[in-house]
């Protein structure tokens, strides 16, 4: 389980466990272009990086956008789904206003600024849309096989419980 923090090159090792087939929803509530927009949005929230201590694939490469879509489709009610679609459809218009390009064509700073603006929106629908996608993106990324295996070192079978250990040996928290 030692840190194979290899970035995109190590893709085949984790991609086998979590393929588009396993995360694709049986029902589709997004069109192709909405799905692409969602992919760009989750990648903006958690981008592929190579310069920080958190180097590695971003949310899009880990198919988190498919996870987000599946969750909204299967676990959320109709109004939330409606607001989700509406939010995705609004991004290009907001991008044109903000930086005169479609959302996907903005640079990272422009896209990030736009999402930050959504987060601070006084429009409840926009704010809810942002929170929904952001929270599910974080959840999908942190619970992806790649992150749990290579970065947070999830132990499926701890085999023990030690009650009092010095703090420094502690790794990340361990969801079930």
């Amino acid at each position: 389980m030692a840190g194979a923090v290899g970035g995109l090159i190590s893709l085949p090792a984790w991609a086998t466990g979590w393929t588009p087939e396993t995360v694709r929803s049986s029902r589709k509530i997004l069109s192709g272009s909405q799905t692409d927009m969602l992919a760009n949005m989750v990648e903006t929230i958690i981008p592929t990086t190579d310069t920080t201590t958190a180097a590695g694939p971003g949310a899009k490469a880990l198919n988190v956008h498919l996870f987000v879509q599946k969750m909204v489709t299967d676990c959320y009610d109709k109004p939330a789904q409606e607001n989700f679609r509406k939010g995705l459809d609004s991004l290009d218009g907001l991008a044109q206003t903000a930086f005169s390009k479609p959302f996907a064509e903005g640079d990272a700073a422009q896209r990030t600024a736009l999402l930050t603006q959504l987060a601070q929106s006084t429009d409840k629908g926009r704010k809810d849309f942002y929170s929904l996608v952001k929270n599910l993106t974080i959840r999908g990324y942190m619970s992806s096989e790649y992150v749990m295996t290579n970065l947070t070192h999830y132990q499926f079978i701890p085999g023990h419980y030690y009650g009092c250990v010095p703090v420094k040996t502690k790794t990340l928290s361990q969801p079930k």
Binding site: A54, M71, R139, Y141, P158, T169, K170, L172
Partner: protein, 570 residues
């Protein structure tokens, strides 16, 4: 034709029939079969074989499509079962869906059920605390229900017997309120739990914080290896079924043990409609079973019958077993069948934080937590409410990351979380008082999918429960304060009865046939070859998680039943 009938009858005749394969039914099967009886075990649900029928047991978190969240359609279709903490994407297959077995809530009651071989022993919380005489003495001392026909000395050897076989971890604490058992090594404490224990010991003579006794193999013994079980691996996903057999379940332990004798016939998909009473013989002769696939009714016969359908369904079976002799349900001369049902009050909790011990944390996971035995009204009645409560307690730390913003900074923050301070939490487990007004009955018109009358459940909290919630909140707040915990918050979920999954009574034990259903051997006063040893038999509830007591009662009762059978008494 008559020959055929005789053949069919012979084919369907056993020495014993056990109705139900859950925690007590599994024990009844093992014990009766261990004493040489050819036994038919009837289970209304499907077969669930150890390991092979645990489909999610080896699934990694990312392999769950919805990360263990319930789908909307599952939640919408199952408002009752969706309230259960153990019901999630990885365990859906082990819980009864709301529509599968409808019932009537005269008062709100969340009936949580597991219809499969193993019953709820697959998904139980595995806490196994003994009763003491402070519990068995309760009704007589405090003047409610009826006096228990047994005392601790009657059941103590049977606790030891089942503990050794099941594998119970715990520490010998020497407490009169919670007698020690045959323990495997206890689970570890963390620093803050230890701190709390010491603070409480220093402040209160009569309050103790101990490690919970739990049905986990912390150090398997030869008998556990013989069962094919291995050491608990601390995965803490027990409710999905454990391939190691790290915790006790019927599936991992009693049922396979009984099966290997060759004397057990396990018949899943068999809903018991009623017990057959022979007016001439003055005894029960068998059971009527509806096959869930064919919907056909079939009769099976035996010398003795153990009813272990789980508390409420055992009531249902007896209520539905009517005859000229027993028009109001089998063995119901007293009229108390279905009455004096009770449960455990799990409504309240207390949480807080602790600023100390920040250089320490925990490593791994623990399928158990510390336990605070009852300290109210123990030696004598002293509060403005009857009886008392036990409490769970635990402490832990979790890593948290700043989730503000988006982009590379967010990613950096997510992957470099900071270990938070200690949180502490407790939940109450209150004794409730069995009352005639808390009852179970059959509906006169509504039927379940098998044509059996639906069970009407009329169970509610009372003023005693409310007072106890308040006292628990006050006392735990005081104890948390004593330990230096901060930001102490109390809650009262007002959850309906049922979610505790400790429903009990309705077929209570007692000395007097005029006021009880069962004698001291869990034997129907009026029908000596029928034994009820699941939660239905409970005269009072005390505060302890009840499964261990059901196991011990069952083994004790089966021992008596076989002896009585050999003497021709049943």
């Amino acid at each position: 034709m008559s020959y055929l009938n005789i053949d069919a009858q012979a084919l369907n005749t056993y020495d014993a029939i056990v109705i139900g394969s859950g925690i007590s039914g599994g024990w009844a099967a093992k014990e009766l079969i261990g004493k040489g009886l050819r036994t038919l075990v009837l289970e209304r649900g499907r077969d669930v074989r150890h390991v092979t029928d645990y489909p999610t047991t080896n699934m990694q978190p990312w392999e769950f499509e919805h990360r263990n969240q319930l789908k909307r359609e599952v939640r919408d279709a199952n408002p009752i079962i969706s309230k259960c903490y153990a019901f999630y994407e990885g365990t859906e297959q082990f819980f009864v869906k709301d529509a599968e077995h409808p019932y009537i809530q005269e008062k709100p009651f969340d009936w949580i059920r597991g219809y499969q071989v193993g019953g709820k022993s697959l998904m139980w919380a595995r806490q196994t605390q003994r009763w003491s005489d402070f519990d068995f003495d309760g009704p007589a001392r405090d003047g409610f229900a009826v006096d228990w026909p047994i005392r601790y000395a009657d059941i103590a050897p049977w606790y030891s017997y089942v503990e050794r076989f099941a594998g119970i971890s715990g520490n010998k604490d020497g407490l009169a309120t919670l007698p020690d058992g045959e323990f495997l090594p206890p689970h570890e404490w963390n620093c803050v739990e230890k701190h709390f224990q010491q603070k409480i010991a220093g402040r209160y003579k009569d309050r103790h914080v101990i490690m919970g006794r739990a049905a986990h193999l912390t150090q398997p013994q030869p008998v556990h290896y013989q069962q094919g079980r291995a050491q608990c691996q601390h995965r803490t996903i027990c409710e999905r079924g454990c391939p190691f057999g790290g915790y006790f379940s019927s599936n991992s332990t009693t049922i396979p043990w009984a099966a290997k004798t060759g004397k057990m016939t396990l018949r899943p998909n068999s809903v018991v409609h009623s017990i057959i009473y022979d007016e001439k013989k003055g005894r029960a002769t068998g059971v009527r079973v509806i096959d869930t696939h064919t919907k056909q009714m079939q009769e099976y016969y035996a010398r003795i019958i153990f009813l272990n359908a789980a508390a409420l369904n055992s009531n249902l079976v007896l209520l539905n077993s009517t005859s000229t002799r027993f028009p109001n349900g089998l063995g119901n001369d007293s009229g108390v069948l279905g009455k004096y049902a009770a449960f455990h009050n799990y409504r309240a909790g207390v949480s807080g934080e602790y600023d100390g011990d920040l250089d320490s944390t925990t490593d791994g996971r623990r399928p158990n937590s510390p336990y605070i035995p009852r300290f109210r009204n123990v030696e004598k009645q002293e509060m403005g409410f009857l009886r008392g409560y036990a409490a769970g307690f635990s402490a832990g730390r979790v890593s948290r990351s700043d989730q503000n913003g988006v982009g590379a900074d967010l990613k950096e923050s997510l992957l470099n979380p900071k270990l938070g301070g200690w949180y502490v939490g407790s939940h109450m487990m209150g004794e409730t008082i069995p009352k005639e007004s808390n009852f179970l009955a059959l509906d006169s018109s509504l039927k379940d999918p098998f044509g059996i009358p639906q069970l009407k459940i009329s169970i509610a909290y009372d003023d005693n429960d409310d007072k106890m919630v308040k006292d628990y909140q006050e006392q735990l707040t005081e104890m948390f304060t004593e330990a230096g915990f901060k930001n102490i918050r109390v809650r009262d979920s007002h959850a309906s009865p049922g979610l505790d999954i400790h429903e009990m009574g309705g077929v209570r034990m007692g000395k007097d046939p005029k006021t009880s259903m069962l004698n001291k051997w869990n034997q129907l006063h009026a029908v000596k070859n029928v034994f009820v040893t699941d939660g239905a038999c409970m005269t009072s509830t005390s505060t302890q998680n009840p499964s261990l007591t059901y196991m011990a009662m069952t083994a004790r009762s089966a021992d008596y039943a076989v002896k009585a059978m050999k003497k021709g008494l049943v």
